[in-house]
Amino acid sequence: MRERLEELRREALAIVAEAGEEARLREVEVRFLGRNGEITGLLRQLGSLPADQRPAAGREANLVKAALQEALDQRRDQLQQASLARELRGEGFDPTLPGPPPPAGALHPLSQVQRRLEDLFSSMGFLVADGPEVEWESYNFDALNIPPDHPAREAQDTIFVRAPQATAEASAAAESDGKADGVVLRSHTSTVQIRALKKHGPPLRVVAPGRVFRQEAQDATHEHTFHQMEGLVVDRGVGVAHMLHAMNSLLEGLFGRKLETRLRPGFFPFVEPGFELDARCPFCDSGCRVCKGSTWIELMPGGLVHPNVLEACDVDPEVYSGYAFGLGLSRVVMLSYGIDDIRWLLSGDLRFLRQFPS
């Protein structure tokens, strides 16, 4: 029995010394010390030994068992240390392997820019309004001081909606009364000036982003459907300096820094005086393609709300004044992201939409 014990001891210790991984140690533990292990088996045979040999054999067997257990623990410890050291050295770990393809999904760049501006103006007390895209001709024009026979009213610019059969006769009758009101796809978000003023009345601060439509052939820089954002403030004592401040804030929100700006004359029938706002080109210092070398880019028309417009909305121009401005959202989106063809915006093309993670 002693020899057998010694044999087992040597064999087990040799395996432990050579074991390169913990699993191997586990095997040894099971094989020799487990419930049905070989050393355990020997111990179980103690009872069959003569009584006088039992204590010594038992002691020896227990010594072997303890030695083996210690060797196992030691080796396990070594292996764990080595493995930790390997892990810390980064062995066998390639941090340059890629992760799984990231889940996609994004808001449209138009929405992203629009939201940024909506939030900015909200924080300055503007409400965000919305008007119908299919609109009364009179709201799109007359109320905005664009009388009949103004060039902007011509069919080449505006898309008209047919009168439905049922009302065609009624409107023909109205036309002969001179009260006809047609229906158009709004050609600018300025219609919201009328809607918002009629609904909320002064004092009022509102921005109105949305789709507008023009009868226009498409190419890289022209679209029949595009987006604008209108701003309108009507209150007592509102003047050009306040408009300029709002415009500057808008540009700062858009480009993330203050840009030098300047106002110059511009003509729009629904404002008087009317302006164009130029900003120092945010893309260059000394002239580039975007600013056509001038270092200024024309960004936003605006003006003081024309008294005729206030009157059309039952606001007394003797008491209230206001300003309005319009931002070409589509254009600003194109400028901001360097989009070279406006037709991408409404293409629904994933190759386009994927490029603006939100």
Partner: protein, 817 residues
């Protein structure tokens, strides 16, 4: 429009002004300058040369071989074909290497064997005039070697103005108007326009009948005897025209163009001897009347058009273009020069309808100052005397009718003006520039709080009509660029937020963020074919009168069709995708204005999966998406039904598969019970084929945002405290005839679970030979939990028993798990 600064400089001193600076001043104070080019710049390399030798070409009769000195070292040999080349002549010489205005680069050449080292140029080759009779002869004292543009004082800075920024300024359609602006901006005197002081005593007797006084309230006809046939204009006049891109023709025509470009008033010269009568009638056209304009086009007219007629018929389309028959030509000896006032709107309608925009029509439509009609003739007469001394005014013009700009007296309040503009200006600083522009000002009373301002005729026709228009004048002359931004100080309240927009925004975020969809924007118009595809009559759509593209005249009712149109192109590179859009839809309503709805719609596509229904399928995915968005609304209670919406529902889904579709209605417990909220579906099979989408699974859903907002506004999800007792998880599988729908099974299981059933999740659907024909197995994870105790095995057994009973009721049995 092109404005020559040399020309403007005749009326206001610009000698010390850099042209770029002038351009900037005009942009800042008047109208947008889009470009600045120096006329003559393309002649930089052409110099004054002298023909020092001139002999016959040995091989060609019509060619001469010359030697030309041009100030650069040696003389060079040049072959010249002009008849007027001769020794000693000073010429415009283009040495080898010169790029001529046409773009031609001169090279060393051999002409019939003789070397030619440059070109002696004609005026036409230099694009200086139409004259190609021979080479340009320069004055004998011209300095050899001097650049030609310097010698001829040709260089002329020319501004390109944005016409759109001039639409409201009838006074800026000629050079004199810009001189007036610059005089006011630079605070310099404006020189008066030299005109003929006195008309001849005799009055023209050519009868003029104004038969349409609304269309033409004033007409002047000046008869002129030319004293010979028309001849080319003098160089200075040609140069003015060329600089602004106008081709010189003959002195009479050039003069009318010159006056138009200077004053903005169009005039028209008739060949007097070709006018039948001679007499002039200005009348409305007869419906269908045909007039051949001088471009040779027969024009079919309508009753609103204005016609100038002589004794025998129409001779000009008033205010737009003259007629061919009475045009001034080479043989013209006497003219009748027309200068008139025409109704702006009628001119514009005619010119627009005929797509015939001319220099004349684009001016008449701006409401020109009526006083210009006579001034233009006076200016013409003055210039005629200089250009064509042999010509003679036959009489003073016959002036028929009356027209004058309205007298307008407006009020300027300096304090108010200053405040509106945000420019601290003294009254004097406001009045001075106004006066420079021709406004008369006068203090209203001694307090000088307000001034009367009389508007000059050239601004009074429509541009300056209200007090606020004076604020504009004051502001722009002072310079808007001087205005400094000031924040508006006023009480601020939290602005009203549109709940529909808020919900839309949240749902967009959810779709993009959680469901990895891409927000799209699709066109609002649909091809007419969509009506048929959707089985809808055309009357179900709002339709466009003048669509951008023929036949694409339907306004979309909801975003699904236009989103579907975006799928095929995407399929080329993306085998799966999810696009969504929050969009407005329209359909005919009770009045002329169509009814508007706000929708949230989505389209998804992917390769076909093994099963068409169930959790793995596109159909199932659309259902989950829809219900997730409803929960975000937040809604926790609804009725879901299979099939299409009913006819009464406010949401119609003509694109949906009739049997692979689901509708959600508000729960009977809510205030708006039974209102349709959403539909999700697979694409209708017919549409699938029409759009060539047979090989992919296309799923759709549409939510009514307004309905959802009304139902959920102000709602928040309710928190439920998690139970403290542990749950038991039990898996059960039921083998049932396939005819038993899932929802029956789920209902039965929920009943079996009662209050204890916390969660029930389908995890496997299996059908196979082992189960027998027509049998399918549905396997569930069930979670049982009690709020008051720890459940025991007994509870589990009880549940299983009930499930077994339920399975049997449904015609199947509980499988062992």
């Amino acid at each position: 429009m092109k404005i020559s600064l040399n020309w403007v400089g005749e009326f206001v001193d610009l000698d010390d002004q850099d042209p770029a600076q002038v351009a900037e001043l005009l942009s800042l104070h008047t109208a947008e300058v889009e470009g600045l080019e120096v006329f003559g710049d393309n002649l930089r390399e052409v110099v004054v040369g002298e023909v020092v030798e001139c002999g016959r070409h040995p091989q060609a009769d019509k060619l001469s071989v010359t030697r030309v000195a041009f100030g650069a070292g040696e003389t060079v040999q040049v072959v010249c074909g002009a008849p007027n080349v001769r020794q000693g002549l000073k010429v415009a010489f283009a040495p080898v290497g010169t790029v001529l205005p046409g773009g031609l680069k001169l090279k060393k050449a051999k002409l019939r064997g003789e070397l030619s080292m440059g070109m002696i140029c004609s005026a036409q080759e230099l694009e200086l005039s139409e004259d190609h009779q021979g080479i340009l002869e320069l004055q004998p004292e011209a300095k050899v070697g001097q650049p030609l543009i310097e010698h001829l004082a040709l260089a002329d800075p020319v501004l390109e103005l944005d016409n759109k920024s001039l639409t409201h300024r009838p006074d800026l359609w000629g050079h004199y108007g810009f001189a007036r602006e610059l005089a006011a901006i630079l605070q310099r005197p404006l020189k008066p326009l030299p005109v003929l002081a006195d008309w001849p005593e005799a009055q023209s007797e050519i009868p003029i009948h104004l038969l349409d006084p609304e269309g033409c309230p004033l007409y002047l006809g000046l008869p002129v005897e030319l004293g010979g046939r028309p001849s080319p204009s003098p160089e200075w006049l040609q140069r003015r025209l060329l600089a602004v891109g106008q081709r010189p023709l003959s002195d009479i025509v050039d003069l009318t163009n010159f006056v138009l470009l200077e004053l903005g008033q169009p005039t028209h010269a008739f060949d007097l001897d070709r006018l039948s009568g001679p007499e002039i009638q200005v009348r409305a056209a007869e419906e269908g009347e045909v007039l051949t304009t001088l471009d040779g086009q027969p024009r079919s007219l309508q009753a609103q058009d204005l016609v100038i007629a002589d004794g025998s018929g129409g001779v000009a389309l008033a205010g737009v273009m003259g007629g061919g028959e009475t045009e001034v030509g080479d043989s013209t000896e006497r003219i009748l020069l027309e200068s008139a006032v025409f109704h702006p709107v009628r001119i514009r309608r005619t010119s627009k309808r005929l797509a015939l925009r001319t220099e004349a029509s684009s001016r008449f439509e701006k409401s020109l100052d009526p006083a210009l009609a006579e001034q233009a003739l006076q200016r013409f007469a003055y210039l005629l005397a200089k250009v064509r001394p042999q010509a003679r005014l036959m009489a003073a013009p016959a002036k028929t009718g009356q027209a004058a700009a309205p007298q307008r007296r407006l009020q300027l309040e300096p304090a108010k003006t200053s405040a509106l503009l945000g420019l601290p200006l003294q009254a004097e600083e406001m009045l001075r520039p106004l006066q420079a522009l021709g406004f008369q000002t006068e203090a209203k009373d001694e307090s000088r709080q307000a001034y009367w301002v009389e508007v000059p005729s050239w601004r009074a026709t429509k541009d300056v009509t209200l007090d606020i228009d004076l604020v504009e004048e004051v502001g722009r002359l002072a310079g808007y660029h001087r205005i400094e931004a000031v924040p508006l100080r006023a009480p601020v309240e939290a602005p009203w937020k549109d709940p529909v927009r808020n919900l839309a925004r949240r749902l967009c975020d959810r779709m993009a963020g959680t469901h990895h969809g891409f927000e799209s924007q699709a066109y609002s118009f649909l091809d007419q074919r969509w009506a048929k595809r959707l089985n809808l009559p055309l009357e179900a759509f709002a339709r466009l009168q003048n669509p951008v593209q023929e036949g694409v005249d339907l306004v979309r009712r909801d975003p699904i069709p236009s989103l579907l149109e975006q799928v095929p192109a995407n399929l080329l590179e993306n085998e799966r995708g999810l696009l969504f859009e929050c969009a407005k839809g329209y359909q005919p309503g009770n009045g002329p204005l169509p009814e508007e709805r706000i929708w949230f719609g989505a389209v998804a596509w992917s390769p076909k999966s093994k099963t068409e229904d169930g959790p793995e399928s596109m159909f199932g995915r659309m259902r989950s998406l829809t219900e997730d968005l409803l929960r975000c609304a937040p809604l926790d209670d609804w009725q879901v039904q299979t099939g299409l919406p009913s006819k009464q529902d406010a949401l119609q889904a003509p694109w949906a598969h009739p049997s692979q579709s689901l509708c959600w209605h508000s729960s009977p417990k809510t205030k708006d019970a039974g209102r349709i909220l959403a539909v999700s579906a697979m694409l209708d099979p017919q549409l699938r084929e029409e759009l060539s989408l047979e090989n992919v699974a296309v799923g759709l859903f549409l939510l009514d945002l307004a309905a959802l907002t009304q139902l959920c506004e102000g709602r928040l999800p309710r928190f439920e405290s998690p139970a403290r007792f542990p749950a038991i998880k039990v898996d059960v599988a039921l083998a049932l005839p396939v005819t038993v729908a899932y929802d029956q099974v789920e209902k039965a299981l929920r009943e079996a679970g009662g209050k204890l059933l916390e969660d029930l999740r389908l995890f496997d659907i299996f059908q196979g030979a082992s189960l027998g024909e027509g049998i399918r197995s549905l396997a569930f994870h069930a979670t049982l939990r009690s709020a008051s105790k720890t459940l025991s095995e007994k509870d589990e057994q009880k549940f299983l028993k009930r499930v077994e009973a339920a399975a049997q009721r449904l015609g199947g049995n509980l499988r062992s798990c």
